[in-house]
Symmetry: none
Subunit: 290 residues, 2 copies
């Protein structure tokens, strides 16, 4: 058997390219909640995927199986392997990987971080920050450090699409005073400051506050000194089985905020996104002849 070593999931992936529309649709449905979704009869999975039963037969044959029963037998074997594997019993993450694989250890850590962070987090804080960022009258300024700069940029990039008056502070802290100069009372400064807290962040926060800006800080559980100056602070768990801290949960909060802000003014955002699409198209036209 050729499929002895490869999982059904692998086989599907390696064939994704040669699948037709309906077959892709079916493949998606199977991979979603794999491998349990393939447990039922051919009729059931065809219905779940919204395709006809012949499509199922054609696809599994295209994948190299003799027929649907053959396909399902392989799936059953995989389910069996997954369930009866003693390591898999508790936390089954990456299959075929020993429980000590870095991916599994990381997954465990991230899960713990997420859970702890959400337990500690006051949803009122979240909602208040979302409201603050949704307020079009307030200018937004994003600042990050050496490592967290990427998070600030990610946040900024999204907010820039959603609303006007957003600014990303250059990574070069010597230029920060110029940004502060432009801040008005009521503007919001979003600061990322984690572990090895950077001295410049406190200076930035102090200066911004003097100008009447509201400050939102993303920091770790121990708290950046800048958090003391902040109106709102997110204390995120950042522990990882690594010499580095994990930014995964921080990014999680950021994405949730992006959605919350966007959602609060969806009509306006939609218009902006449409316009942006148009601008992208134009840019392409500019570029094509070049």
């Amino acid at each position: 058997m050729t499929t002895a070593s490869k999982t059904v999931s692998d086989v599907i992936h390696s064939h994704l390219g040669v699948l037709t529309r309906a077959e892709k649709q079916l493949a998606e449905s199977l991979l979603d909640n794999y491998p349990v979704s393939g447990l039922g009869s051919i009729t059931t999975i065809a219905e779940n995927a919204g395709v006809s039963t012949p499509t199922v037969v054609r696809m599994v044959q295209k994948l190299g199986f003799k027929g649907y029963p053959d396909f399902q037998a392989h799936l059953h074997q995989e389910v069996e392997a997954t369930i009866s594997n003693p390591i898999a019993k508790h936390d089954r993450w990456a299959q075929n990987a020993p429980g000590t694989h870095i991916l599994n250890r990381f997954a465990d850590a991230i899960m713990g971080n997420l859970r702890q962070t959400l337990t500690d987090l006051d949803t009122a804080t979240f909602d208040n920050v979302a409201a603050l960022l949704s307020d079009r009258k307030r200018g937004l300024y994003f600042a990050g450090g050496r490592i967290t700069g990427a998070l600030a940029e990610y946040f900024f990039t999204h907010m820039q699409v959603i609303r006007p008056a957003t600014t990303l502070l250059s990574s070069n802290s010597s230029s920060w005073p110029q940004y502060v100069l432009n801040m008005n009372a009521g503007d919001v400064l979003i600061i990322f400051d984690i572990r090895r807290y950077e001295q410049e962040m406190v200076s930035l926060a102090t200066a911004a506050r003097k100008r009447g800006a509201e400050i939102v800080v993303f920091t770790d559980q121990w708290g950046s000194p800048a958090a003391k100056l902040a109106r709102h602070a997110f204390r995120v768990r950042i522990e990882a089985p690594s010499a580095w801290d994990s930014s995964v949960v921080t990014l999680f909060i950021v994405e949730a905020l992006i959605e919350a802000v966007q959602n609060s003014t969806w009509d306006e955002t939609k218009e902006r996104m449409k316009t942006l699409e148009g601008l992208f198209e134009q840019t392409k036209l500019f570029r094509k002849p070049g």
Copy 2:
């Protein structure tokens, strides 16, 4: 549903007293390697237990199921519950928040993405990429798109500390050819390309491959066209209850890779980090008097 609380296993146990010899034999067979042993057809499990098919029908009806299909449906549900990560299933994340709060919905989605991604991910791919990135003889180049640029930058920032010969491609794609010009055979190009795949990525990948570079792609489950040119591809689930895609799981893989690479050459990395600390100190000294 009455069986929502009781498992099939419970039901069998509670009926053990009223079962006949052949039925007990069947029950034993089912409980042995439960619940996988009940995955097949009635014929299969009858054969495995060494009883006739009518015995199976009679027993499941005695247990309170309408018939074999009904019995099997319950078993499938249990298999699903066993396989699905128990933590991901738990009802509420942030306490005191309604289950429909954006934070909770996001947490559910992210956990699903993580689980699915790790299920689909081949750990060999991960290990191979880690080895590739650990090889000091290879230069590393990081490229991202409009949104994924921040991920590329995050990855780059860490790798830059861990090892020499790392380059972040400017976000301005018109300058990319100059980077390709400097690539040598065996160098590694790490590309982030998700959804709205950017045409330039394919051009970049093609050009880099002509220079003999190895290509690693981070993409979504549908696959960037650049993935076809890649030696290794990570297909990450990016679905979120949002108009935007989620980068959380992608960042997760990136962080795990960072740790894997660092771990493989910890001694050297330690030296580099010490030196870096020294350099930071010096910079501060420069600045203080100013």
